[in-house]
């Protein structure tokens, strides 16, 4: 088991290195191949009144003329030992882990991300609880009542949930529940959990439900399919033959087995969401990682985009690592391998 963990950890680190290289390539190498110049990169960080020589000076100052491996090395070394940036009047420290420094916002990226993680975490965790409970419960009931009106209605709603985009359901639900009925918080509301847990839950209720709806739908379908499969397994018949109550058969024997693959998907979904629930955050104007990514992309702020990509990748890699380890705990058959 220990070697298994170590092997997976090394794999995770390698994966992050690869992601960092790919990210760097996408934003620095590929544009170069496509013909972008060092000045082209620099002009993103200049006002519209900048002239050619100012852009050239900036390109030199920001190191866009250096060979690409040097630029990559500088970026990576920033993560471990930090970097320094000239603000005109002073030199600004970007302490490790320096995931880049926005030349547009004139701020290190990492503190911004740290500042935004609680929002994304709150959104993702609350929604995850809702979708897991609702999705799995619906899926189980649908599987047990396969073919009934309940099953058909639930699966139709689930299909709608998977198909409807959050920016549509989100805006519509805001108009109805927040501005029409006034029972939920308006867009952009967020109160930190530690400040006021009730207010926290109230302000996030609508985003939670909207986001959870999307996922609950697919989890309901997954759970239903999984339950239909496991409930026809021989060991379920064995459990019944023992004289076990049906509810216990369903939960302890059926759901337990059906949930194992769902756990994998759940872990990865959660990891992806922690890297930013992009649509939900921008629909509800929540200042999370996803909103940050959108702003970074809209303003073409490369260091921000790279930083947020790396952090998102970190979450996904971590999540898949945790899922792998959890899987070994949940399914004893995996432990041998």
């Amino acid at each position: 088991m220990v070697t298994y963990i170590i092997r997976r950890l090394i794999g995770a680190v390698l994966m992050l290195v690869i992601v960092s290289m790919v990210t760097f390539s996408i934003f620095f190498v590929v544009p170069r191949i496509a013909g972008a110049t060092a000045e082209g990169f620099a002009s993103r960080y200049m006002g519209r009144s900048a002239n050619a020589e100012m852009i050239a000076v900036t390109a030199e100052k920001l190191g866009f003329n250096d060979p690409l491996p040097v630029q990559y090395g500088r970026w990576i070394s920033g993560v471990f030992v930090g970097s320094e940036y000239d603000t005109g009047a002073t030199i600004e420290e970007c302490p490790a882990p320096c995931f880049g420094y926005s030349f547009i916002r004139r701020q290190p990226v990492w503190p911004d991300l740290v500042d935004r993680i609680p929002v994304t975490l709150s959104l993702a965790s609350g929604a995850a609880v809702i979708w897991l409970l609702c999705g799995v419960a619906t899926g189980v009931l649908s599987a047990l009542r396969k073919g009934t009106v309940f099953d058909r209605a639930a699966m139709s709603i689930a299909l709608a949930g998977v198909s409807l985009p959050v920016f549509f359901t989100g805006i519509v639900s805001l108009v109805i529940f927040s501005y029409g009925l006034g029972i939920t918080a308006p867009g952009g509301s967020f109160t930190p959990f530690l400040e006021n847990p009730v207010e926290w839950a109230y302000s996030l209720l609508l985003p939670w439900i909207t986001l959870a709806f999307l996922y609950a739908a697919s989890y309901a379908r997954l759970t239903r399919a999984g339950m239909l499969e496991t409930m026809s397994e021989d060991y379920i018949r064995t459990a019944r033959a023992k004289g076990m109550k049906e509810s216990r058969v369903v939960v302890r024997h059926g759901l337990r087995a059906a949930l194992t693959p769902i756990l994998t998907i759940f872990g990865l979904d959660l990891g992806l969401l922690l890297g930013g629930a992009v649509l939900t955050e921008s629909t509800f104007s929540l200042k999370g990682i996803g909103d940050y990514a959108v702003q970074a992309i809209v303003t073409n702020d490369l260091p921000k985009i790279m930083g947020v990509t790396m952090v998102a990748a970190l979450f996904v890699v971590l999540a898949s690592l945790i899922v792998d380890l959890l899987y070994a705990v949940v399914d004893p058959r995996v432990r041998l391998g």
């Binding site: 021989d234 060991y235 018949r237 033959a241 023992k242 004289g243 194992t260 004893p332 058959r333």
Partner: protein
């Protein structure tokens, strides 16, 4: 209806499943009796209704869609009309089942011990510790070495034979009075089969349970059974003592089964005599005798075979046969055509 004197008695049991393609008559009018300490072998091809019968007795025939009628009397209680919850309380305790292929029949995520403990604690309100001791005890009784260690193993960590032993330990953990074994040895190789059959025979004697062994393999029932019921197309077609079935079989289908039976005293290379044709569809059973399309003697009944469903009639001394051929003709065919062939081959 009146309670019978036998421990287990089925009267005209029918289990039908409505499907999109039509009504599947898995069990269609089955009756038999069984006493404590005795063994009944139910033999038939897949789809003959033998497994559904056993599940029907346990109340495990699938879901609310199945239609069940007739009577199942267990120790003076009628189970078809009893509440599902009451039948559940009998399951595992009064009647237990050993399933085919213990790898899929045991939950892969729980240890063998945990699954026995669970079975025991459903019916006995004892602490986990006590139940665990009992589980170790049971594993020991079914011949698993180092049971106090193996109790914490997962099913996939057991060999096939060991798993079947564990399965038996689980079924016997509540000391059931009726034990149903569904193809208990099919998934095992031949030497292990023999061990398991020995074990079941010993345990049945120790527990004094009524045992139903369900199999497609006449060899298995030959080892264990007092009585044998041969099923075809959802119906019993021959029912008698083991001696009746092996020494004086009267149904052409039973002859076919005997002919296709591999025997340890025969050479491997020798040819088996498979029954021609495929088992019938349970939705559209052939008219008349369900077996007649495959029966080589059907032409000797003057067309009755395909026109009229034969009754299960007594041929002699409790030996029941469902066949249009007259008793004497059947005797004659067995003695002069089949038996000779089987022995000479």
């Amino acid at each position: 209806m009146s309670a019978p004197s036998s421990f287990l008695e089925l009267r005209d049991l029918r289990i039908h499943f409505p499907t999109d393609d039509g009504l599947v008559k898995s069990v269609d009018g089955l009756s038999f009796q069984l006493e404590r300490g005795k063994t009944l072998g139910i033999v038939g091809e897949s789809g003959s209704g033998k497994s559904v019968t056993s599940l029907g007795i346990l109340g495990l025939h699938k879901g609310g869609r199945a239609k069940i009628s007739g009577e199942i009397w267990l120790d003076g209680e009628e189970l078809v009309t009893a509440s599902a919850d009451h039948v559940r309380t009998l399951r595992g305790k009064k009647m237990a089942m050993i399933f085919q292929d213990p790898l899929s029949a045991m939950h892969p995520f729980y240890t063998v011990g945990a699954q026995i403990v669970e079975a025991y604690r459903i019916h006995h309100p004892v602490s986990k510790k006590v139940a665990r001791k009992h589980a170790i005890d049971m594993l020991g009784r079914v011949g698993i070495p180092q049971p106090e260690k193996r109790v914490d193993s997962y099913p996939h960590e057991f060999s096939g034979g060991m798993r079947q032993r564990a399965m038996i330990a689980m079924a016997l953990s509540c000391d059931p009075e009726l034990l149903i074994a569904d193809e208990p040895t099919t998934a095992l190789d031949v030497t292990v089969q023999a061990q398991i059959l020995d074990l079941m025979r010993d345990l049945q004697r120790d527990f004094n349970a009524a045992l139903i062994v369900i199999t497609h393999d006449l060899g298995v029932v030959a080892e264990l059974s007092d009585d044998i019921l041969v099923m075809y197309g959802g119906k019993g077609i021959e029912y008698g003592t083991a001696e009746d079935i092996f020494e004086r079989p009267e149904h052409p289908y039973t002859w076919g089964l005997l002919g296709s039976m591999p025997r340890l005293d025969r050479e491997r290379s020798e040819r088996l005599l498979p029954i021609k044709g495929a088992p019938p569809s349970l939705i559209n059973l052939p008219s008349g005798c369900a077996f007649h399309p495959r029966c080589v003697y059907a032409d000797r009944t003057g067309g009755k075979s395909s026109a009229e469903v034969p009754e299960l009639l007594e041929s002699d001394g409790g030996h029941l046969v469902r066949c249009h051929l007259p008793h004497e003709v059947r005797r004659d065919i067995w003695e002069n055509e089949i038996k000779v062939n089987l022995e000479s081959s």
